[in-house]
Amino acid sequence: MLIRYSIRRLLETIPTLFIISVIVFSLVLLIPGDRVLVMLGYSGGDIADVISPEVYAAMEIRLGVHDPIPVQYWRWLSRALQGDLGTSALHSIPVIDIILGRLPATLYLAFASIFFGALLAIPLGVAAAVRQGTWVDRLANGIVLFGLVTPGFWVALMLVLLFGVYLGWLPTIGYTAPQDDFVQFVKHLTLPTIVLGLDFAANLIRFIRTDFLEQMREDYVRTARAKGLSERLVIWKHIFKNSMLATVTVLGFDISRLLGGSTVIETLFAYPGISFLLIQSIFNRDFATVQGVVLFLAMIVIFMNYLADILYALLNPRIRYE
């Protein structure tokens, strides 16, 4: 049953992907700017430019910009289906290579932030619900409020000043691959992880606390207690499992968000992730890279949602039959 459900959900993602591909391709066509000029290296015009008509014409032919839009779309899509997301106009190398080159750094940051956030959020969210109204609850609410109302860039700047400038404990820019130097890898990852993890935790604590409180009022909890189970068993074996539905939803969305939406933080820490690549590509009008990155991120969002659906089905078998 689960396999059938998984296959059905997988097939449902195909039209979504197709629509996204049309939107991504069309949106990029609507962005003002001349991709021929970008391809020729004219990205902002802060050097006195003399543009040669011959070179311009040669590049127009090479890029096929005069082909009908459906032809251009089909060419782009058929290449994308084979893993070729085009060539970056700015960097003149395949977009997929650029994305794959940045993927490890992005994944490390995303998963480290989720791990840190979950480590903070799950015990605090559960404790806040179980000990509602106590100092633990107030602490959890304080963290939620701080995380939600404080802009990430401000937290980042404060952490940079404290741990980088004043204490000198942690680096404030860059990234080191774990295979090159694991200690430096951890150090470089720490500050951006704390910033993103705090934001993630604030969201998660709210969901866990609310869901936990709802579950605690359910009949099966009363039954579990009535049959003499210890409070620890009631909380972690019965309530926790059922309250994970909301957590899985948040996780699905937040992993997608962390993979593609940490632009400000990656910019501040000069962290070579995919978000930073995307914003640089937009500023530089590197259309092929923007198309490639957006499509890649859209696929990740769809895949994470798909995974979340499967986890839902695992956690709540009734979903499979609906």
């Binding site: 003002p32 700017g33 001349d34 391809m39 020729l40 290296g41 004219y42 990205s43 902002g44 015009g45 802060d46 050097i47 006195a48 430019d49 003399v50 543009i51 040669s52 011959e54 070179v55 014409a57 590049m59 090479r62 970056s88 700015l90 960097h91 003149s92 190398i93 395949p94 650029i98 080159g101 409020l145 701080f146 939600l148 109302v149 404080t150 401000w154 700047l157 404060m158 940079v160 000043l161 404290l162 980088g164 400038v165 004043y166 000198g168 680096p171 404030t172 820019i173 860059g174 910019t267 501040l268 000069a270 070579p272 930073f276 690549l277 640089q280 590509s281 500023f283 530089n284 009008r285």
Partner: protein
């Protein structure tokens, strides 16, 4: 160890900030006369030994005493490709020229030329041939010697339209053919008389010398830098992240001190400043005026800063084809309405120097300008009077600015225009839309920025010549005056500075009388900063850090204990 005062300041600031954020969250014309080009003598162009090479000789004994190591340079923009013949920004060009690529010769910053890979150059009588004598013993990073064959190959590669080289538009119309006279002599056969050819190829984005066959025909997908002749060798390039170069021990000018330079892209000026303080960076460019001010006031220690005073200037450009500004009186009224000192104060903390045209302050060009074209300072009364007598009938002026630094400019200018009676529609746009509107003429008034290239006419020729096209990439004011085109053409035939100054004055007068552009000034918003143990770093004020006869660039940088 930090002082307690610093700690108190930090904690207080952080605390106040947090409280404020929490509270906020809870609450919810002279007649132009074409000038004939003088006939220069061959000696005029003959240049002897390189001052760069001379510097290298004396440095050899100091080499062992000075510490090299790795220098991390915080760049505001990236090297977008290690390809030698695509250059997307000034930072891209500076980085390549400061490290692994070299031109035949180089502008000295005061309009002169200095030898780099060519030790001398000479033209024939009618300036239709240029012969360059190459420096002997120059090695490429591959170890092979640079010869005339490499120069011929590089020049031909650039001039082939199929290779999409940036320098194609500069070189191909001027050069008929290139030939190797002997192993160390190259002759460029020109299309007609071309006295300014050496200046044109002194730009690294036009022609750098790489070995024969270093690129395939039409090759634009490059992820590894081609070998060059510079003091550093290309090592690694990570798109939108960093470019790494390493020392080239056999550099013809002498071995550099630094073993490695990492040009790290840090897009945020705050990030660059913080990383300089933590010494994760040793040099950073384009630091903010606020950061520079704190360093200069002593608030931030152990760092030195220096303004790139010629890094860029801004001007307000009218669209003379627009229904509002096709009347010169309306343009003049707007010119007198705009007080550039106010603009400089309001938008750039007063950091900068006013200018009347795109020439460095105090230069011979500046002196020539003062003689012909008195400054039009802000004068609201005069502006109102001219506006009242003009054809202006209250139409909304489309003032188009780019997001970011364009915003304060737009706010200041729109306010000043409104004060004298203009209606203004301020449009703050993303860079792509902003560029597009300028290209298609969908604006009335807009700020433009540019940088100094060493000669005001050669720099400005593109934006002054008639460009009759629907989409305009160079002359976006759309001012077209065939007389001006003739003067510019004739200017290219001049070699004597005095003649050039006379001709420049005529050109400047036409532009002044046409009231097409009002220059704001050189804005000192870009600062270099470096740790106080970094020695030997020099820049030439224009924002670059190019190794050359005037500035030391990164080639002679070393660390002191």
């Amino acid at each position: 160890m930090k002082s307690s005062a610093t700690w108190v300041r930090f904690l207080t600031g952080a605390g106040i900030g947090a409280v404020l954020l929490a509270v906020a969250a809870a609450c919810g014309a002279e007649e132009p006369t074409p000038t004939a080009a003088p006939t220069p003598t061959a000696e005029f162009f003959e240049v002897s030994d390189s001052p760069i090479g001379d510097v290298g000789v004396g440095e050899a004994e100091k080499w062992e005493e000075r510490q090299g190591g790795t220098l991390i340079f915080g760049s505001a923009k990236e090297v977008t490709s290690p390809h030698p013949y695509t250059t997307s920004s000034s930072v891209d060009g500076h980085t390549k020229e400061a490290t692994w690529l070299e031109p035949l010769l180089q502008l000295t910053g005061d309009g002169g030329l200095a030898p780099v890979l060519a030790t001398s150059w000479v033209a024939n009588e009618d300036l239709t041939e240029w012969t360059f004598h190459l420096r002997e013993g120059v090695l490429f990073h591959t170890g092979q010697e640079m010869t005339s064959a490499d120069v011929v190959w590089s020049a031909n590669y650039v001039m082939d339209a199929n290779n999409a080289a940036r320098g194609h538009g500069d070189m191909a119309p001027l050069v008929r053919s290139v030939e190797a006279v002997d192993k160390y002599t190259v002759k460029f056969n020109m299309v007609g008389s071309q006295p300014s050819f050496p200046i044109i190829i002194s730009d690294i984005s036009v022609l750098s010398i790489i070995p024969v066959g270093a690129l395939e025909p039409g090759e634009i997908k490059v992820s590894v830098g081609t070998p060059g002749t510079g003091p550093f060798k290309f090592d690694e390039w990570v798109p939108a992240s960093k470019t790494v170069v390493v020392r080239f021990d056999d550099y013809w000018g002498g071995k550099p001190y630094l073993e490695k330079i990492v040009f790290q892209l840090i897009a945020s000026a705050t990030g660059r400043g913080n990383a300089l303080r933590t010494r994760e960076l040793q040099i950073a460019e384009r630091l903010s005026p606020i950061f520079a001010g704190r360093v200069e006031s002593g608030d931030i220690g152990a760092i030195e800063v220096s303004a790139a005073t010629l890094s860029g200037y801004r001007r307000m450009m009218f669209n003379v084809d627009s229904p509002i500004f096709d009347d010169i009186d309306v343009r003049l009224a707007a010119m007198y309405a705009m007080d550039m000192q106010k603009l400089l104060d309001e938008a750039f903390f007063g950091l900068g120097t006013l200018m009347d045209a795109a020439v460095p302050p105090g230069s011979v060009w500046d002196e020539a300008l003062r003689e012909c074209c008195p400054r039009r300072t802000g004068d609201p009364e005069k502006a109102r009077a001219i506006l009242a007598a003009s054809s202006y009938a209250g139409e909304r002026v489309r003032l188009v600015v780019g997001r970011g630094q364009g915003e304060p400019i737009g706010e200041s200018i729109s306010r000043q225009l409104r004060e004298v009676g203009f209606e203004v529609d301020l449009q703050v746009l993303e860079s792509g839309v902003y560029d597009e509107k300028q290209s298609t003429g969908d604006f009335d008034l807009t700020p433009k920025s540019a940088s100094w290239g060493g000669d005001p006419v050669i720099d400005g020729a593109g934006r002054w010549r008639c460009e009759l096209a629907e989409r305009v990439n160079n002359n976006q004011s759309r001012y077209c005056n065939p007389e001006l085109d003739v003067l510019i053409d004739n200017y290219y035939g001049l070699t004597d500075l005095d003649d050039k100054l006379v001709q420049y004055k005529k050109i400047a007068t036409i532009l002044y009388d046409a009231a097409v552009t009002k220059h704001m000034g050189w804005n000192f918003t870009r600062f270099f900063g470096w740790n106080d143990n970094v020695k030997g770093f020099e820049h030439r004020g224009e924002g670059g850090y190019t190794r050359g006869p005037v500035g030391g660039g990164l080639w002679r940088v070393y660390f002191e204990d």
